[in-house]
Symmetry: C2
Subunit: 245 residues, 2 copies
DNA sequence: TAGTGGTCTAGACCACGCG
DNA sequence: GCGTGGTCTAGACCACTAA
């Protein structure tokens, strides 16, 4: 286990973070084989000139990510299974882009209107409050993938159509200084009616995945309510879960 | 903020855990209002006779759960939005039971057979290896909810039919000393064929939610591959996400 | 018994947000 | 400037596991 670990005390990057990044990259590159022991914390601390709590903090962050497992009396091991990524709060646009699908977006509607009861409840605003409505069609390789209807508070964001066609909604929010914190989602299924089928290029009766999602910022304010339809023939939700210890 | 916090040093429960539990229950009961500040860590430590790192550990665990937010220069606040629970690796049986649905299970098949290519790949065993197959129908209020097909290594578990009808698979695994660690899931949708419709009490062409899941223990071994069908008219996946900071 | 991680202490200095 | 959380140290004792 001759890993070349080192920390730079002149760097503004926290020491524990430098160490966890080096360990993570070593695991990803296979320098640290699955199942291999990491060596005990005290020795590691001494070798790097760090205190044990700092080393523990680095290791703990990787345990939280699911890359390492600690066992009392045994040691710290690299997990065997390939942990990919937990389900992220990413936009479909970013997902598709990351998958090299060259996404495109058509803005079908972009208006301000009064919140219906359902939308008002989801955003926790009074019924009738003005909310922004963005309705988009997401395409990949020129084929429709999803129909997305998003409601958001009017004062949060005022995106131009051009931005909406080239950037995911979450990225726009982050750019506007919104710190996303959590989201509540419901995933279900139903069959397409005639209008939905026409819009998505499916036949009537084709299976669709439905998702409703309310997203909150770190103050607990609801910043977005989305109600989306995905073509089940073209899309599925794929994600990793970590068991809470 | 006159919270009655106290720790018992004679208890075997770790001090940070005692504190985090008390804070969590105070938040749940509304004793700590959303948005309220928690008071600074040093003062809190002094009041409880704990060191600051111990108090930080307690607070950090609640930040990780999404119940608190820390801001430098501001303080630690209770999050406004109601964080329920992140998606857990729970069995449908436990989910239904928790929801007071009085679930029941019919074991349709319980055999050992040679792994097909798909199952072998999911469990990371050679094709043709013997694996246990459990096929069950899950009911709630006497109505079919889901059809579940699970494959697991033969040496992992040898459940009796009675156990399978009264206990979720994950609970059986935990009882057998298996430490679940992570799972990889795919959720999609399709329409029911004639046989599926008959089994689930739906019409042909009814929408179904599909889920494939591979579960790993903490050594990285695949301990279960499941391929499940849910009636979309009766079931949807409902869960909470936390944004990774 | 020896070695590991789990917990805990009593300090220290720094970076950031606000008035 | 002041108070907050963010990071870090150099120890200590305990609980669990394996040989």
């Amino acid at each position: 286990m001759d890993l070349q670990l080192s920390v730079d005390r002149a760097s503004p990057v926290p020491l524990y973070f430098q160490l966890s990044q080096q360990l993570e990259s070593a695991i990803e590159r296979g320098k640290l084989a699955p199942g291999s022991l990491l060596g005990n914390e005290i020795e590691l601390a001494g070798r790097l000139g760090l205190s044990r709590p700092t080393v523990r903090q680095a290791i703990q962050s990787l345990v939280d990510k699911g890359l390492l497992v600690r066992r009392r009396g045994i040691g710290t091991q690299v997990v065997h299974s390939q942990v990919k990524r937990p389900m992220e709060l990413s936009s479909l646009y970013d997902d598709l882009e990351a998958a090299g699908q060259r996404p495109a977006t058509q803005v079908l509607r972009h208006t301000v209107q009064e919140a219906t009861a359902q939308v008002a409840a989801a955003l926790a605003v009074p019924e009738g409050t003005e909310v922004r409505l963005v309705e988009r069609l997401r395409l990949a390789h020129g084929e429709p993938m999803a129909h997305m209807r998003n409601h958001l508070p009017v004062d949060l964001l005022a995106p131009g159509e051009a931005e909406l066609e080239t950037t995911g909604l979450y990225r726009l929010m982050r750019g506007a200084g919104v710190t996303l914190h959590s989201a509540r989602q419901t995933v279900g299924a139903r069959v397409a009616d005639a209008a939905e089928a026409r819009l998505l290029g499916e036949d009537e009766g084709a299976p669709l995945l439905t998702m409703q999602r309310t997203t909150y910022d770190d103050t607990g304010r609801a910043v977005e309510y989305g109600s989306h339809l995905y073509r089940a023939s073209r899309y599925s939700f794929d994600f990793q879960l970590l068991v809470r210890p």
